[in-house]
Symmetry: C2
Subunit: 135 residues, 2 copies
DNA sequence: CTGCATCCAGGCGGATACTG
DNA sequence: CAGTATCCGCCTGGATGCAG
């Protein structure tokens, strides 16, 4: 959802609602998080970092983040094409909150694993950890 | 989505993704936020606080939050019925992050209003403000 | 390499009516 | 008062193929 569409109905929305419309969705927070951790990323790097994303969703999500001015897009007119994405200043303001959420989630996942006794495959978990939880 | 369903696929998920699955959706964050601001709330009070919610979504969302142990549910076997909802300890740990998000969103909304020059209806905005942004 | 176009399924959430 | 039950539209997101 675009920012100006949101504004037209801003009256009936509260701030928390507004925020979730801008950074909600299946991939937005993760992309912001990765961009903060790794700095500047190319399209293909992002795609490899999110193994479950399709090109359609990656492009669409990046466009929305760009229109909302949360990320910066830099094109190089070369052959083959090259595009770099990075966090904007506004986007960086969101990192502390994603970090807090991330810390909370990690703790929860560990507690869940203990109490329920699942998550056996430690190797797979380690892969996810290396991709997602690098600090 | 329930917690145990999440755990079965936890290996392929990263922490940020996990968190958004638990507090994402259209109403979850707002409900947690209101419960923190107002303490204990009854079903009907919650419904009035979220003017745009239907009983189906309110019940469903409350059930999911309860199963995820983010809120507490206390029933009184009286006539007429009475049920009270409040934050659990785990739920309270999420408040700082929602607060941060809320502050960010408020700032963004003001900036958007200035730059785009919309949001004319101040009375309606005031209503939302009184309901959503009470501190 | 970095996308866009098209088609399609599933599920989130809405509307309405009914109940202990 | 605090929900259930049912039906249904829409929109998110997936799969595939094509293009500059």
């Amino acid at each position: 959802m675009k920012k100006d569409e949101l504004l037209t109905q801003a009256n009936q929305l509260c701030a928390v609602d507004y925020a979730f419309k801008r950074i909600g969705g299946k991939y937005k927070a993760r992309i912001l998080w990765y961009l903060d951790m790794r700095g500047v990323l190319r399209y293909g790097e992002l795609r490899r970092t999110l193994p479950d994303i399709t090109t359609k969703m990656l492009t669409q999500t990046l466009r929305e983040l760009e229109e909302d001015k949360l990320i910066l897009r830099k094109m190089y007119h070369e052959v083959p094409a090259k595009v770099e994405y990075s966090l904007s200043e506004t986007g960086q303001e969101l990192i502390p909150f994603i970090a807090h959420l991330h810390a909370w989630a990690k703790k929860q996942i560990e507690m869940d694993a203990l109490s329920v006794g699942k998550v056996k495959d430690e190797r797979t978990a380690a892969v996810c950890k290396s991709v997602c939880d690098t600090e």
